[in-house]
Each structure stands twice: as C-alpha cells, then as structure tokens.
C-alpha cells in the first residue's frame, strides 16, 4: 500500500508540473491542483476507491473458489455415483462462469485452480500433484489448455458485448441530449432535462448546470430541487485535451471564498465539474456529485459528460448569435420607425406650422390693413392650429416616454367611474351630438391605475373614436369585472370599423388604417400605440375587435383592487 501511494504521488507530481503551466491561461478561480486521475487507468490508489478495489478482489477470489468447489462437488458426484470415468469438462463450466462475470484473468485463475483440483483429487495417486499414468498427464494438460482458451474467449466475447452495450448507452444518452437542445427554444429550456438525464445515466446523485462568466454564474438547472448547492473543498475538474483523449479528472482545492457559507458535501461524495466552453471562452459549468464508493466516472461516463458540456456550449453560442441577430433586427426596425416618424412629422407638424406662420406673418405685415373682425379671426386660426400642434407634440412626447422607459406609473386604487366621467365630460365638445352611453355599474371594485396615464389612454381612445366614427355614430363605454380579477373597459363605436386584417397592426405606431376614398389620412397614427404602451406600463392589456355597434371595439384590461375596509378607525 505505502509503495503504491508513493508511486501515485510521484506520477501526480509530474502531471502537476505539466499542468501548472497551462493553468495560468485558464479563466477559472485559481485552484490548487492536488493530483490527477485518468478514469480508465486507476489501479491502486491513495483514495477511498482503493477500498472498493480490495472488496472487488475479495469477491473475485471468493467466486473463483466457490466455482471450483461447486465444480469439484459435481465431478465427485458424477465420477463416484454416476460411474463416469472422466468428468473433468464440468470444470469448464466454472471457467466460463468466472470468465463471463469477471473477465480473462480470473478465468485463467479458475482454469489453473480446476487443473490443480482435478490433479490432486481425482487422478491417481490421489491427494498428490504427481500423476502415474502419462496418458492422464496428457489429458490434464489438454484440459488446462482448453480451459485457458475457453476462459479467454468467453472473457473477450463478454467484454465486447459489454463494450457494445456501453457504446449504445452512450450513443442513446448523447442522442437524447442533442435532441433536447435542438428541440428546445432556448438552451435554458433544455438544460433541466439534460441534468436529469445525466444524473440517471451517469449514476450521479445530483447534477447542476450554471451559465455565465466566471464569478457571475447563475444556476439554470439543478436536479437537487430547492436544496442549496453543495460545495466541496476539493473538486475534480475534467481537463480536456484536443481530440478529447485522454480526458483526465484533476482534483483541485476550491478557492476559499467559494466554499465558505455553503453546505459542505460530505467526505463520501465526489464533486465533479466540467467546464462549458466554446472557442476558449468559459460559458458556464456542469457540476455533479457522486457517491465516492462508485469510483471516478468511467471513460464512457466521462465522455458523455464532456460531450454534454460541448453540446450545451454550442447551444449557448447559438443563443448568443440569435440574440445578436434579433438586436440587429430591432435596431433596423427602429431605424425604419425613425424614418416613418420623420415622414409623419414633416407632413403633420408642418401643416399647422405653415398656417400659423402665414397668418402671423400677415398680422405682422405693416402694409396690411386689418379690420378688427378679421384680425380676431386670424388670431383664432393661430390659436386653433397651435392647439393641434400641441396635441401632436404631446403624442410624440408620450411615445418618447414609453420608449425611454422613463414612465414610472403611480399605481393606486381608483374608482373607475370617477376616472372615466371627467374625461367624457371634458371631451363632450369634440364627441358632438351622438348616442353616448356610459355603463360602469357592473364594476364596484376600484381599479389599480395611474390616474394621469389612464386619462391619456381614455382621451386618446375617445379622440380616435371621434376622428374615425364621426357623429351621429353611437359611442358606448362599458365596464365588466372578469372572473380573473381583472376589469375590462370597452370603448366601442358605430363607425366604419377596421377590417380584420388591419386589427393586428392597429396598435403599431405610425400605422394608419387606409380607407378607400379617403385620400388624406388624419393624425400621426400614434394615438393607439400610446394607448397600448401606457396601458401595458400600468400592468394592463389592450385588444381590439369588432363592436356590436358595427364599428371598432377597443378593450382595456386593468388590474382590480379589493374594496377598502368599510369599518374604520
């Protein structure tokens, strides 16, 4: 044992020296390397797996002895009671059994054991290794030869079968992992399934996967449920080489700060970690704990873990690329919107400006004689056009606030009627003479809104209705409480309505519904997009559909508050 330890120690120190150099280039918390293990070449060791190996040796010895003893008993029974002269081939059964169970070397041992047992127990002179008859000698030697060959053949065959099975398991695992990653919409959706699969295939107690740059990692999948992530003072990290062979588990001391404050995994548990990296960049890590009695992962298990990490790395890269593409698309669309804005602004803002300048220029002209009546009319034109400009600018400012995220809604419970009625009263002049109904009695609970934003939302909706459903088209405002704890406020008109294909784009900014025979479109096409932006900022939702009045119905969904306590201090 001591000698074995020393041997391992020397080898580890050599590898340590080799790895020391590469370690400096790894963007990983600096660990202290303890020693290195290759999963398939572990023979004797200084770690608890040695105990397992000893146990296995004892088991093999016991089986070999038992097999020989059982075969001996059978041979004795056959030769004495059954009257068979030479029952030695029965020993071949023992050789085959041991060969299948433990491989070539134990089979060889069994063959020799059987040879000795038969020699000692069943050939004359009995209970001695010597043999009188040279023909029996030949028989014995032939038996030994056959036994050795059979043992080897059986063992080789068995190992091949096992390897084939392992390969197929490995292939199945890898196939399952790839499928999960390919079919999921994002890597983070796929990793919980991968973690579960790895845990069951690799005899791992717990598997967790974290992504993100070193130091800011975030666990995205964990088979351990809500239990805190364990940490170990010593973690076996898989060192990868080009070509993936030989991959080696390197035991390292974790930096102290990573260990303190977290539950420690016990001494009977091996902590494993495989880095998830692509193009030399660390994207995350795949970690696992495993019962130490099971030993280090086999070559195949190691390969599955390594390939899983690679697949996840590729998938994360794919996500990054998709994200970049999406960002590019968004900014491209942003540019298109800006162009549309400039187009709209140049037309819709310049029209009132033009009439203001023309009228004001006329008033300022010393050569023009103005009758009092005419001068007042001119001033009224300037005032009306300025008011129109004010509305347009207000819309653009609202849009800007929505875009910049500068909206901080002051959400408070409000009585719905007390919010709606003042807006309707204020807008009555532009709504004109029509069937205007207000039905808010179904909702007694308060709604949670920002009163100022709600005012803008409803004002825009009513102005929109006034513009597109001109009087005497009816206009109904109704509210109902949904079973989902939300209040639906519907503003509907009896105007021409919106074709179904246009409904989806109704809330897009700068979208104006084109109508046959209506050349000049009115407005900037931002009123309803402001409605959408502000409603969503208040945690609500907006949708549009056909109205029972024949025109457009816009539904605003709002959060409902509970009624305040009636009994007071």
């Amino acid at each position: 044992m001591t000698a074995a330890c020393q041997t391992v120690g020397v080898r580890d120190r050599l590898l340590q020296a080799v790895l020391w150099d590469t370690r400096q280039y790894q963007p990983w918390p600096t660990p202290t390397i303890l020693f290195v293990r290759s999963p398939a070449s572990i023979t004797a060791g200084s770690d608890p797996t040695t105990r397992v190996r000893l146990g296995r040796g004892l088991l093999i010895t016991a089986t070999v002895l038992a097999a020989i003893a059982a075969a001996t008993a059978a041979v004795a029974a056959l030769e004495t009671a059954g009257g068979i002269d030479d029952a030695s081939p029965v020993y071949l059964i023992a050789v085959v059994v041991v060969g299948v169970a433990f491989g070539a070397r134990p089979a060889l041992l069994t063959a020799f054991g059987a040879f000795l047992a038969y020699d000692v127990l069943f050939t004359d002179p009995r209970f001695s290794l010597t043999v009188d008859d040279p023909r029996v000698w030949l028989d014995l030697l032939l038996f030994l030869f056959v036994a050795v060959v059979v043992g080897r053949l059986v063992a080789v065959q068995h190992r091949r079968a096992e390897e084939a099975e392992q390969r197929s398991r490995e292939a199945n695992s890898l196939f399952a992992l790839s499928r999960m990653l390919v079919t999921a919409t994002s890597t983070e959706d796929a990793v919980p399934g991968i973690a579960r699969r790895l845990a069951s295939d690799g005899q791992l107690d717990r598997v967790w996967i974290s992504v993100g740059p070193v130091g800011r990692e975030r666990v995205v999948a964990d088979t351990g449920g809500d239990a805190p992530i364990p940490s170990a003072a010593v973690v076996a990290t898989l060192a990868r080489r080009p070509g993936d062979e030989p991959a080696q588990w390197i035991r390292t001391h974790e930096p102290r700060e990573a260990v303190t404050g977290r539950p420690r995994s016990g001494g009977s548990v091996e902590s494993l970690r495989v880095r998830i990296e692509a193009d030399g960049e660390v994207l995350g890590s795949l970690s696992a704990t495993r019962d130490r009695a099971l030993g280090m992962p086999t070559r195949e298990e190691t390969r599955v873990l390594a390939l899983a990490a690679d697949q996840i790395a590729l998938s994360l890269r794919r996500d990054q690329v998709t994200r970049i593409a999406t960002d590019l698309e968004v900014s491209r669309q942003g540019d298109a919107l800006k162009t549309a804005l400039i187009d709209s602004v140049s037309h819709d803002l310049r029209t009132p400006l033009a009439s203001i300048r023309a009228t004001a220029g006329g008033l300022a002209d010393p050569d023009v004689e103005w009758a009092d009546q005419k001068r007042r009319e001119a001033a009224a034109v300037i005032d009306a056009e300025a008011a129109r400009l004010d509305r347009l600018v207000r819309g653009i400012l609202d849009l800007g606030r929505i875009d910049s995220g500068a909206l901080h809604p002051d959400l408070e419970p409000h009585d719905l009627a007390s919010l709606v009625e003042p807006v309707v009263d204020r807008l009555r002049p532009i709504l004109g003479d029509r069937d205007l109904r207000l039905d808010l009695d179904d909702v007694s609970d308060p709604v949670v809104v920002d009163a100022m934003l709600f005012d803008v939302v409803l004002t825009n909706l009513l102005e929109n209705a006034a513009n597109h459903a001109s009087e005497p088209a009816p206009l109904w405002i109704s509210a109902s409480a949904g079973p989902d704890g939300r209040v639906r406020l519907v503003v509907e008109d009896g105007g021409p309505g919106v074709p179904p294909v246009e409904l989806a784009r109704l809330f897009q900014r700068f979208h104006r519904v084109a109508r046959p025979g209506q050349g000049a479109r009115r407005g900037l096409g931002i009123g309803l997009s402001v409605v959408k932006g502000l409603t969503e900022a208040m945690g609500g939702a907006v949708s549009a559909g056909p109205s029972r009045l024949g025109g457009l119905a816009v539904t605003i969904e709002l959060e409902r508050a509970s009624e305040p306590p009636e009994a007071e201090a």
Binding site: P413, H414, D415, P422, P446, A451, A561, P564, E568
Partner: protein, 244 residues
C-alpha cells in the same frame, strides 16, 4: 417690448417670473391689457429682488428657471406671507410641479395654456377669501354642506348625512379649503396622519365614495362638481360659487 408702459390703473399687482422673454412679454402684455399691474422677472435672483422691494398680490412662477429651483422661490414667498402662487409648468416638469405644490404653491396651469384660462384661474385665486365661512358656533358651510366640528355632524341641504370617520375627516379638510388645490400628500397627512396607515392608498376610492354620498344626499345638485380630481396631483375644491 421690455419697456412696456405700466398700467396707470391700480389693479391687482402680479409678479411674473418666467425665463422665456417672448412668453413673459406676451403674458404680461395680455394681463396688463386686462387691468393687472405686472412686474417681470427673468430668473430667480431678479424675482428675489422684486419680492424684497414689494409684496405682490399674486406670483406667477415658471418652473425650470435657469438659476433656481422653483420650490426655493415658493419657500421664499411663503416666508413672507400667504401671497398666492400659481405655477406655470410644461408637461415635462410633472415631478417638479407636485414638489412645488407640496412646498406651498396654490395652483398650477400647464403650458401651453390659453390666456382666457390663465386669467380665469388668476381671478379665482385673487377672489378667494382666504378661508371657509364659519358662524359663531364654528359651523363650516360650503355649497349645501354644513359641517359641525363640535358635534362631528354633517348636513346636506338641511338633511343629516351619515359618514364613516374617515369620510368625515376628508370632508372636513375639503370644506375648509374652498377654491384650493389639495395635493394627495396634504390630504393623506390631514386624514391619515403623517405616518400613513394601510388604508391611505385607497384615498381616491374614499374621495369617490364621499362624492357619491354627497351627490345622492343633495337634491339641489349644489355639491356636484365640488371635488374635482386633478390626475397625478390631487383634488381641486370648488369655491363657494361652484367655480374656481
């Protein structure tokens, strides 16, 4: 235009603090044409000099002065007395607007405003008697409402009105401030105290409920339009004449 002639008549005296010269002159000229005397200040420092020299009847204060925070001017005016202050504010100044109202300004008007609207609001502020009408027994009257603070009872058009304690406290603040703009903060402090209780966020709901009770109880319709929401700011109380 800066040397515009002072109105010879001794009308109400206003101090207009506005940094944009064009707006300042246009507003001042219009007000002078309607019989007001207007002092003009282009920044906070000049406003302070004018305030040291004389006390105007009303201050019109633009938010977003180049040199000073609007609330500083408000505090300076409040130290000297109860001179009404009206804020002129652009939409972008909403936060400032509330802060200035909380600091003691009386009302605001949002830019761009019509001159008719501004004059009507100035008139309402100047007309305000400065307090509610009380008789010898301390009973406060507004519109058709009579509130007896001693018995904690309320009648509307002569008929008793049942109110919960919170509604009563709310109404007490409202009838005591005819023609004024009450910010949310002020109402909360008056009704729920400085350490707001859990119910305080239902302020708007309590106000709506109180308004509905008043209107139901009042056959004359005199209480209709008494309490008016100013979204984001608070509530405006109509004055005795039902206007503001």
């Amino acid at each position: 235009m800066t040397a515009a002639p002072r109105s010879p008549r001794g009308g109400p005296w206003l101090l207009l603090v506005e940094d944009d010269a064009a707006t300042r002159d246009a507003v001042a000229n219009n007000l002078e044409a309607h019989g007001y005397r207007v002092d003009r200040a282009g920044d906070g420092a000049e406003a302070f000099r004018r305030l040291d020299a004389a006390r105007p009847d009303l201050v019109l204060l633009d938010l977003g002065l180049p040199d000073l925070d609007g609330s500083a001017v408000v505090r300076r005016v409040r130290r000297a007395g109860t001179t009404p202050i009206r804020i002129l504010s652009a939409r972008a100044d909403e936060r400032d607007k509330v802060a200035t109202l909380e600091a003691g300004a009386d009302d605001y008007v949002t830019k761009p405003f019509g001159m008719d609207e501004l004059r009507a609001r100035i008139g309402a502020l100047l007309r305000r008697t400065g307090g509610p009408s009380r008789d010898q027994e301390g009973i406060v009257r507004l519109a058709a409402i009579e509130l007896d603070p001693v018995r904690r009872s309320v009648t509307v058009a002569g008929r008793p009105l049942e109110l919960t304690p919170r509604e009563y406290e709310l109404l007490k603040v409202i009838v005591a401030n005819p023609g004024r703009l009450l910010t949310k903060g002020r109402l909360l402090r008056a009704v729920w105290g400085t350490a707001y209780s859990g119910e305080a966020h239902y302020l708007h709901v309590y106000v709506s409920r109180l308004r509905r009770k008043l209107e139901r109880a009042d056959p004359t319709g005199a209480t209709h339009g008494l309490i008016n929401a100013e979204p984001g700011i608070g509530y405006r109380v109509a004055d005795a004449g039902g206007e503001y």
